[in-house]
Structure formats: structure tokens, C-alpha cells
Amino acid sequence: MADHQPLLEQLKVVFFEEADEGLAVMESGLLELDPGSADSEAINGIFRAAHSIKGGAGTFGFAGISSFTHGMETLLDQIRSGQAQLTSPRIKALLHAVDHLRLLVEAARSGGKVDETRTDAVRKEIEREIEGHDTKVVPAVVATPGPDARPNVWSIIFEPNPAMMRSGNDPYLLLRELSSLGRATIEVDSTRLPPLEAFDPELIYLSWRIHLEGPRDEKTIREVFAWVEDECRLVIERQAAAPEVVVAVAPAQTNPTTPRPPQDPPVEQERRKTDLGSIRVSIDKVDALVNMVGELVITQSMLGQIERNFDLGKLSRLRDGLNQLERNTRELQESVMRIRMLPIRFIFSRFPRMVRDLSDQLGKDVELTMLGEGTELDKTVLEKLGDPLVHLVRNSVDHGVELPEQRRAAGKPGRGTITLEAFHQGSSIVIEIRDDGGGLKTDRILAKARAAGLIAADVQPNPEEINDLIFSPGLSTADKISDVSGRGVGLDVVRRNIRELGGNVSVSSEPGRGTTFTIRLPLTLAILDGQLIKVGDQTYILPLVSIVESIAMRPDQINAIAGRAEMYRLRDEYLPILRLHQTFGLAGGSQDHAGRLLVVVEGNGQRLGITVDDLLEQQQVVIKSLDTNFRRVDGVSGATILGDGTVALILDVAGLIAFAKGEGKKCSTTPTSSGRPWEAPQRRVDNI
């Protein structure tokens, strides 16, 4: 456990960073809301941010934040589902709550304290706004009595004899020990300090006054000072009320030989914030890179020599040299990419504690097994994978594994098992979350989906389709809303996040045997296998993974529905056709399909035929963002630079499919209100 501590600290830093982002999202979202007209997407966004903060706070043991956010979430949920109207007092209350939540997060970050009475006041304000308040909010708050639930407060005066250090006792160690007992506020009294010329570095001139909050008795405190009891003056008093002291100061650097008032903490925070963008790389990766560069230099000088007095007899040597250069470049590329790779342990390591806390809270007995923790994946992917995985693991503990009695009744051992496994498969990484619980209850999911209007009453989907429904927004099969999960946000957010990473999440389940969530992610976001296509005089790139097949079009297989939406009959399937010429407004788009090629692509489980003029070569392309200097373009996920130095756009298949659907919608009588029906979740590309 001890060596997990620094890692946990790192993860906390990430949580605070995410919480800041979430707060900003909530604030700007709330400010844009109009009373009366509930923009469901905006409310969903605010709700998700609140939910993420709650989840993260729960994971890291900030019970105060978690329970506080729960109230906000309940109110947002009611507004979202239409149970409660969006009124301006409600928006105001939520904004107050956001402000206060920011204070709470800030306090948790710096180890400070927030006035409890204000917390209560803001919470009450939220609870008043909840429709039929006093019903729902309370249980979650009771469930986790946080460490700040009325702690004992002690006032300790510690005056060591000047000669105490001679007996080998260091007051710093004592103070550190003391601060591990609870929340300590340490003040140093330096009035006894002599002028510098009379200063003896082996004597202690300082004394300390400590405010300690913690549910401990006096004996525990006395034990800390057991070794020095004869060598100091020690006064321990219990204080009745909580002190007004707001800022706690860490016992930093109170070394008696160099007395200095403790002023470090603010600096410390600054430093923490800035080093978030850095990356730790093991030295052997760097060495490998240096070797590679060495080889590249050698190859370059070899090629230079051939060039200096070139004749045709050296052609084969030139060819060898170029081959070597190609190999060097590829290896260099791989090792540079490897620098961005981090072991998935960084995420996995937060789960043992989370699973233990959760299972205690829910009265379950769960064992967590983790496999393949050394599997490496891209840093950006890793950072964005944290939240979805937390959701899925929470889900498995909460809904997957049954209570011990139920398990025994079903003939299974009372202790449930959740397995987290990560492994490579081809050019993707697979993460599985398996539990040996009761499996998905397909009939209940179906009933809920019908009730929520996700599925028409007369449609009978197959089991896989039903399982897939759990990723739909607003569907939760948990009967009671708990602090843990059950609001039906989790899984649609999970799917959305994973898709943003260019991956996919699926679920399979066996009744009575358990459920498995499978996440599939590309190894890196920076490089993609692309198929170059020619449309008009422009070259585009389609991600190779999304191409199903390419065929030469036969005019007699094309049908137009209502004169607009064209379909192509491919074997026994009808594919919508997207004419890239028209969609992108390119010159030279004739109506004639004959001789053109149809590339069948698949994304989000749907297929689409794209008309192209020619298929060029396949190659790996480095993705560059369009956002950096321009903006996002619909249907385009990024750009790349081809071998000849020109720029080619990388097509976004999911966006194009939405495009095709949007065009279909335009033909019907109900245009969407936003006027941009093709607005679709697009693959975000990082700025390289």
C-alpha cells in the first residue's frame, strides 16, 4: 500500500484538474441556460460534469464533495427528465452550488477547510429546489460519514528542552507523526530565538502550538511524545468547538537549525499544476532512441558519400542505403511513439481501493484481479480512459456482482470476482472488465427501454441488440438511485468517451455467469493506416479500418428514393450513397455513376457507400489537427501531409454517415431546429 501512495497523489492531481474542467463546463452551461426552455443537450452536459466530479471525489475519498454534488445531481436529473421546471431560482441555486463546490475542491486540493455552515446552507438551498425535496437526497449523505463528521479538536503546546536533539530526537519527526493522526495546523513560536551570534545549531529554540483535528483520544497523542516526555513541556487540551482556523499548514521544513516560518505551500501548488504536462520516460527508452539516431546519422553519411562521386555502378549501394534509411526512419518513429506510451498500471492502480471501499459500502465481498498491467498505451488515450473505466468498474461492483447470500443461493462462492485485463491484439489494445455476477437482465432492460421509448413496443430485438441498449442515454436498470450508480448516465458517457478516442465498447453477458465489457482502442491517436482516394482533383484519406470493401458501381443497381436519397443494392442489402462531389461541393461532379467506384465504409455500426473516382495507394499517415489554426470541419477528422508535401484531408466516417442521414432528413418535412442535423460526435485529434 505504501508504494501506491505517490501514484495516488498523482491521480489526485488529475482528478483536481478534471474537477476544474467540469466546474467550468457546469458554470458556462448554467450561464447559457434560459429559464423555461430546457435545452436537453446543455443540461445533459452539466449533469455529466457533476456526475464525473461526484464519481472522482468518491474514488479518492472526498466524501464531502461527493455527497454535496449528489444533491446538485438530483436536481439536474429532475430538470433533465422534465420532473422539475427550469426556473431562474433553480439556475441561481445551481450556480451557487457550483461556486461552493469549487471552494470544496480547492480546499481538498490544498488541505484547507471550508466553513461547514456555508456548505449546509448551500446544500439546503439546493434541496429546497428539488421537486418534493426531503425524499431522495438523504440516503447518500448518510451512507458515507466522512472524516470531517464532527472531529475532536485538540490544542497541543509542545515546548522541547533546548537540548532535546542531543538525545537523538528530532521534533520534525514528531510533528510529522502528529499530523498523520488527523488534520493538523501547526504554528511555530520563534520568540526564543537568540541573535545569530549566540545561535547554537545543536539546540532547539523553537516551540510549537498544534491544532489537531481527529477522532483520537488523548492517549494516542501522548504516545507520539512518549520518547521525549521528560525533555519537553507538553500541554494537551481538548477543545469543545471546531476552530475558526481555515487554512491548514503542512509541517514543512521546520528544521530547528535553520528556523524559518513555513511559507512554502502556495509555491508547492504552483509547481504541481505546471508539471502535469510532462511525461516520465524510462531511461532505456531514451537510450534506444539515442542509438537509433546514431544509426540514422551513419546511414546519412553513407548516402552522402555515395552522392559525392556518383556513377551508375554505385546504384545498388544507393538502393541498399535507401532501404537502410527507410528502416531507420521506421524504427525511429516506433521508438518515438514508444516514449508516449505508458503502462496501463497508471489507471489500474486506483481500482483496488475503489473496489474495496465500494464493496464495503454495498455489503458485498468482491475480489479484484488485474492482468496485463504492464500493457502500454498512448498517454493521451490513457488519460481519457480513466473515467470510462471507473464507470465500468463501479458498475460491475454495483450491478454485476450480487450480494453474498444471493450468490450462495445460486450455488456460487460468496466472494465475487472482477477481472480487469489489458492486452494487445493486432494494432489495437483490448481492455476487458469481467465479473462473475448475475449477468444482464435482458427482460428488464427491454422493459425499461420500452418504457423510455427507446424501442417501439412491437419490435423484438435480438439479445445482442438488447445488451447494446444499456449504452443508450437515460436508461438505468437499477431500481434505486444510489451514490454509486444508477442514473443512466454512466454508460452512454462511457461509450461517447471511448468513441472520441476512436475506440469501441461492447458488452456480452451470460445469465447467471457474469458480464464482460470489452473496450477496444487504437494503440495511438497520432498515426493512422489510411487509404488514399481521389475525388475530382482532390485527394482524401479514409481510415483503413473503416473500409469494408470497394466495388465498381453498376448503374442498374442504383435506386433513388423520393428522387433524392440514393441507395445502392449490394447483394441483398441497400446502402445509402454519399456523393462526395456534391457533399463537398467539388467541381466536376457528374450525375453519371458508371465507372466510378463505391467504397463501402462502416462506422457506428452503420454502413455507407461513398463514390470516389479512384483508389490510390495505402499508407500510414500522421494526423494533424485542423483546429489548431482553423476550426473543425464537418465530415473531416483532420489533415495530413503527403509525401509530395501537399495537404490531404482525412475523412471522418462517422461524420459522413451522419451527413448522409442529415441529407435524408432535409428531404422530409421536419428540418431539425439547429439547422445542422449532421452535427455528430467526431473523433477528436490531438495537436501533434
Binding site: 463537398f584 494533424k624 489554426n629 476550426r631 470541419v633 464537418d634 489533415a639 501531409i641 508535401g645 495537404v647
Partner: protein
């Protein structure tokens, strides 16, 4: 450009390069010529003639791209503008610059920072931050948040 001289803040100019073909971006206004590869960075190019509604001309040997740094509220971006030619560098004191007269709705002077006089010639100093962030580009910037 079209017989007039326009000015941009020289500190914002990153480089000036000859015109080379750009890759078109679908569904963007005509004044956005496309994107080019500037040593590995993707840079969008705006045709200033079209932006101002001036008649388009064939690009010739003097047609150049001025690569500019554009500062938006929250970030800076690199963009290029296509102009007929680059003529000279002038020093204009900020207090010698006169505000653009208001032509009402007839002419949009929103992008003009001011008018300067150099050797009896009028020089139109552009506010490139406004120019390249307005309209289409700003809408996009919002969408990316």
C-alpha cells in the same frame, strides 16, 4: 490590392512566401482558399480579395501569401492571407492614425483599424484579429469549444 495599399502590423507577420496551391476545404466560404503545409503545420489561407468582395484575379508571379499570427480571445493561430503584392514597410505612429470614417451600412469598416497617410498616399491599416476571426471562423471557434 486592387490599386489600394493595405497595411498589417509587421510584428504579426511571420513570413511571406510565394503562392502555392492549397488543398480545398469542403463547405467553407469561397474566401477560404484552403490549407497549406507550412513546414509540418497545417495553415488555413484566406483570399483577402474575396474576403472584401473584390473581383477575383488570376494568381500571378507577384501573388504572395502573408503568414500572420492571429490572436483570438483565448489562443493564437497561424493563418495566411493571399494578396496581390507586398510593397513596402512604413512606420506609422499610432497617434497619426485616423479612425476609419463611418460609412454606415454601405461599407463595412469593422476590419479597419485606422487610416494612415504616407507620402500623400492613404494607407488602410487592417485589424487582422477582427478580420480573421469574424464570421465563419469565429463560428467554428465556438464549435470547437
Amino acid at each position: 490590392m486592387a490599386g489600394e495599399e493595405y497595411g498589417v502590423d509587421i510584428l504579426r507577420v511571420q513570413e511571406i512566401r510565394g503562392w502555392d496551391s492549397a488543398t480545398q476545404i469542403p463547405n467553407t466560404p469561397a474566401y477560404i482558399k484552403g490549407i497549406i503545409n507550412l513546414r509540418g503545420t497545417i495553415v488555413p489561407i484566406v483570399d483577402l480579395r474575396r474576403r472584401f468582395g473584390l473581383p477575383a484575379v488570376e494568381y500571378g508571379p507577384t501573388t504572395v501569401v502573408i503568414v500572420l499570427k492571429v490572436i483570438n480571445a483565448d489562443r493564437s493561430r497561424i493563418m495566411g492571407i493571399v494578396v496581390d503584392a507586398v510593397s513596402d514597410v512604413y512606420n506609422i505612429a499610432a497617434n497619426e492614425m485616423k479612425p476609419a470614417p463611418d460609412f454606415g451600412a454601405a461599407i463595412d469598416t469593422e476590419f479597419v483599424k485606422g487610416l494612415g497617410t504616407v507620402q500623400q498616399k492613404m494607407l488602410i491599416v487592417l485589424d487582422i484579429d477582427r478580420l480573421l476571426n469574424a464570421g465563419e471562423l469565429a463560428a467554428g471557434a465556438e464549435a470547437t469549444h
